[in-house]
Subunit: 92 residues, 2 copies
């Protein structure tokens, strides 16, 4: 399943670390948005790991599941920074 | 249908204006992410209006449709800045 992960991390160091971590899971399409392709097991592990990496009082992460049908209707306006589906990207 | 709108706008003034515009369509759940509930007609109008408000070479906006089923599985970690479904929010 495709998941869109967006985050607001107030602290620069924490945000850099989280961004680096998410790079192993998907493609950064915007400054604070990743597109990933995950199994349920991968999603559970990711959620557990993300929880360790944020300050629950300061930061926020949202994970949106995108269904197969919905995926076909994603709209991009302006510059396209690339997407999982255009790159040869390896999910680890 | 629910749509998640995320944006990277390089210019501060342009970003402020766009954020203000999007506030009439939904709820800002992160610094550059809105959650909206739109009909197809509203979506078409919104896309047309957003195109006028961005620099197509500099900025990027992504609009993700979220199906009814997917909506139930949205995950929030950390601070919850509020969501359309919790607020009494009027779609204009």
């Amino acid at each position: 399943m495709m998941y869109v992960i967006s985050y607001d991390i107030t602290n620069d160091k924490r945000r850099r670390k989280l961004t680096k971590y998410l790079e192993s899971y998907g493609v950064r399409v915007q400054y604070s948005v990743f597109e990933t392709e995950l199994s349920r097991e991968q999603l559970s592990i990711l959620i557990r790991e993300l929880k360790k990496r944020i300050d629950e009082k300061e930061d926020t992460i949202r994970i949106y599941p995108i269904s197969k049908d919905a995926r076909k209707s994603i709209t991009t306006l302006g510059k396209d920074k690339g997407s999982y589906y255009k790159d040869d990207f390896l999910i680890i």
